[in-house]
């Protein structure tokens, strides 16, 4: 990667303990995020797709430290924020913000839009009262809301307008990275395109980086530079948006792409129909998770194998999983173990505290 990453995540795990029995002892763990590494460059959008329960939202919340990681490291620019205290995080939070899926639930109904948008400035002790009024007006204008909106309450707005308020709030402190967690999935199609356009424009104007989480692959492909596909807590394939779409290598990515309904009655493509459901992250299969779902004949072989991401083509990484690759791809990966990716933590120079 040429540019120094804004966000660099290495071998991140987020496990949620499960308690049971009479003594409520820990009986297990939900492995929501399991050994995930990723980088996001300045001005880049990394799309994160996967089905419900694959851990994509958990990953999004963990990288901005709304959740505590179990192990691994998260570096924001040069700073290790993996174990930073809330107090130490506060000044850093100016640089990374979040946009939530449901704007109705993430905006306080008892606060006027002005107080919602003013709050980040107050928390960080920025500006005088008059400056803050100007800034809020500027923000509203930037996200395409009338100045009069400031004195109203969030519930007076439609879903699309509420999401604009959520975007304005995330934008207030001029962050470098915004984690967008399903920002358009609650919106109608005609409104969805308005919000997607706004996000693309803002990125160009402010040089923002996005971690864009969504289950809709066509939306993700539209806004992303690179796309990471997640399955049961693990990233199984990463490539440029064009490449993921034109030349998917992992069986799960292929199935996901073929399942998207196309708005063209003439184009009846062959669908790869998956059997069964995503296995439980509480008790994940020992080997290839997707191979297990498909009942793949090579599943037994994959148990105990290192299924980590490997580079299969320049800028295109895929899990080295015999169940999920074509014979050719598997042969080229297995025969070339020297090309195994170094763990990103070692490959990126970094000042350690």
């Amino acid at each position: 990667m040429s540019a120094f990453p804004v966000l660099s995540v290495s071998q991140l795990r987020v496990h949620f303990p499960v308690h049971g029995g009479v003594m409520l002892r820990q009986t297990g763990a939900v492995r929501a995020v399991d050994d995930v590494s990723l980088d996001i460059a300045p001005g880049e959008t990394l799309g994160l797709v996967g089905e419900s329960g694959c851990g994509k939202s958990t990953l999004g919340k963990a990288v901005v430290r709304l959740l505590k990681p179990t192990s691994g490291t998260i570096h924001f620019e040069n700073t290790d924020i993996t174990r930073a205290s809330q107090r130490a995080l506060r000044p850093l939070r100016r640089d990374f913000q979040m946009i939530f899926q449901d704007p109705a639930e993430s905006l306080d109904p008892r606060m006027s839009v002005r107080s919602i948008l003013e709050e980040p400035f107050i928390i960080h002790g920025l500006g005088s009262r008059t400056e803050r009024i100007q800034w809020v007006d500027g923000l509203l204008d930037r996200v395409g809301l009338p100045a009069a909106a400031a004195e109203r309450y969030s519930f007076e707005f439609s879903g699309g307008q509420r999401q604009r308020i959520g975007i304005a709030r995330a934008l207030a402190l001029k962050p470098k990275l915004i984690v967008c967690d399903e920002p358009v999935s609650a919106l109608d199609v005609s409104i969805q395109s308005q919000i997607l356009n706004l996000l693309v424009e803002l990125q160009q104007d402010f040089g923002l980086s996005y971690l864009f989480i969504a289950h809709d692959l066509s939306v993700v492909k539209h806004v992303s530079d690179r796309v990471a596909v997640m399955y049961l807590g693990k990233i199984v394939e990463v490539a440029t948006a064009e490449m993921i779409y034109r030349d998917p290598r992992h069986a799960y990515t292929k199935a996901l792409l073929s399942a998207i309904p196309t708005p063209d009655p003439q184009a009846r493509r062959e669908k790869i129909l998956l059997e069964g459901d995503v296995p439980s992250p509480m008790d994940p299969p020992a080997g290839s998770a997707f191979g297990h779902r498909m009942g793949h004949p090579r599943y037994e072989e994959s148990i105990g194998m290192d299924l980590a991401l490997r580079e299969i083509a320049p800028g295109h990484q895929v899990a080295a999983d015999p169940c999920c690759l074509t014979e050719n791809d598997w042969a080229s990966l297995a025969g070339d173990s020297a090309r195994a990716l170094p763990r990103s933590a070692d490959s990126i120079p970094r000042v350690m505290p």
Binding site: S193, L196, A241
Partner: protein, 328 residues
């Protein structure tokens, strides 16, 4: 007999209103369409456009006492459903017309086992013994391809995944082998891979059991892949209806075009600016404009004081002829 298949359902100038504190709101405003035998008709539109209310008016499942059908006609196999007695409509609903609801969790009773809920349909609509009903229910679970149906009969809804629950809801709707199925956003709550499974299942069952279907969705992709004919609704009115092939190839109403252009597909270049429809869906309480879509676009419709009519521009392709929105 002509080569056009006979219509199993005809909806003519249906009007449904809701009482609200702002007066009567017309959620469905003179909606007309028909369902040819054995075909799938899709109703597409954004939230609040009246697509679900239209469907629920057909089987008279409107929220009471607020929802009222104020006019029009619904003919199912020639029988008038709007004026049918409660006893008769209860026989038709769940019998000859099956309904698949969107949210499989709220369509199933959480405190009863799956088997009891599916068997109940048979007990209500057919005079059969408990044991026969149970066996018939197991058969239904097999039909919707649920693995190990005998075991699943004893499960509660919360034991099953979203996709499996939706299969149960489909089994309930199809239990009495209906000739018409109304599916209200059957896959909206599901993941894409599960959606593909369910749509595939519904298409197979439809041809196996020779059913007609009304499919309500906001997803034009789903429409394109499953429907023969499409009804596009906006703010309570039908703005355009045509065969799926015709509608996607030659959309004639500004709203249909706007909808089609605003969805990103895998083929649109990354980070390009999408076409949008400005504004938002018009409020049903606001009657200042004759044409609902002109109202959204902020156009003055001084030249059109009357509500636009419909024209059949080519066989079975109808469009609302607002002078601005109709773009031949």
């Amino acid at each position: 007999m002509t080569d056009v298949p006979e219509n199993i359902l005809v909806v003519d100038k249906l009007i449904t209103s809701f009482e609200s504190d702002r007066g009567l709101l017309r959620a469905v405003d003179q909606v007309s369409f028909s369902v040819p035998e054995g075909k799938t008709v899709g109703i597409v539109g954004e939230s609040g456009c009246g697509k679900s209310v239209t469907a629920m008016s057909i089987v008279r499942l409107l929220p009471q006492p607020a929802g009222k059908i104020l006019g029009g006609q619904v003919l199912f196999k020639g029988r008038d459903l709007l004026h049918a007695s409660d006893v008769m409509i209860r026989k038709v609903r769940g019998g000859e017309i099956g309904v698949i609801f969107q949210e499989p969790m709220s369509a199933l009773n959480p405190v009863h086992r799956i088997g009891r809920q599916v068997a109940e349909v048979f007990r209500l609509h057919k005079k059969i013994s408990k044991r026969d009903a149970w066996d018939a229910a197991t058969e239904m679970l097999k039909l919707v391809r649920i693995p190990a149906p005998e075991k699943r009969m004893l499960d509660y809804p919360h034991h099953l995944s979203g996709g499996m629950r939706q299969r149960i809801v489909i089994a309930l709707a199809l239990a009495c082998r209906p000739s018409l199925v109304i599916a209200d956003e059957p896959t909206t709550a599901l993941d894409v891979t599960v959606q593909a499974q369910i749509l595939d299942l519904m298409a197979r069952l439809q041809s196996e059991l020779k059913m007609s279907m009304i499919l309500i969705t906001h997803d034009l992709g789903v429409i394109a892949e499953t429907c023969d004919e499409v009804v596009v609704m906006y703010a309570g009115r039908v703005v355009e209806r045509a065969s799926a092939a015709e509608l996607f190839a030659h959309p004639l109403h500004a709203y249909t075009r706007g909808l089609l252009q605003s969805i990103p597909t895998l083929a649109t270049p990354s980070k390009s600016i999408l076409r949008t429809i400005p504004g938002m869906v018009a409020s049903l309480a606001d009657h200042t404009h004759a044409c609902r879509f002109c109202q959204r676009m902020g156009r003055s419709s001084a030249d059109a004081r009357d509500r636009p009519g419909y024209a059949e521009v080519s066989p079975r392709h109808w469009v609302e002829t607002c002078p601005v929105c109709y773009q031949p």
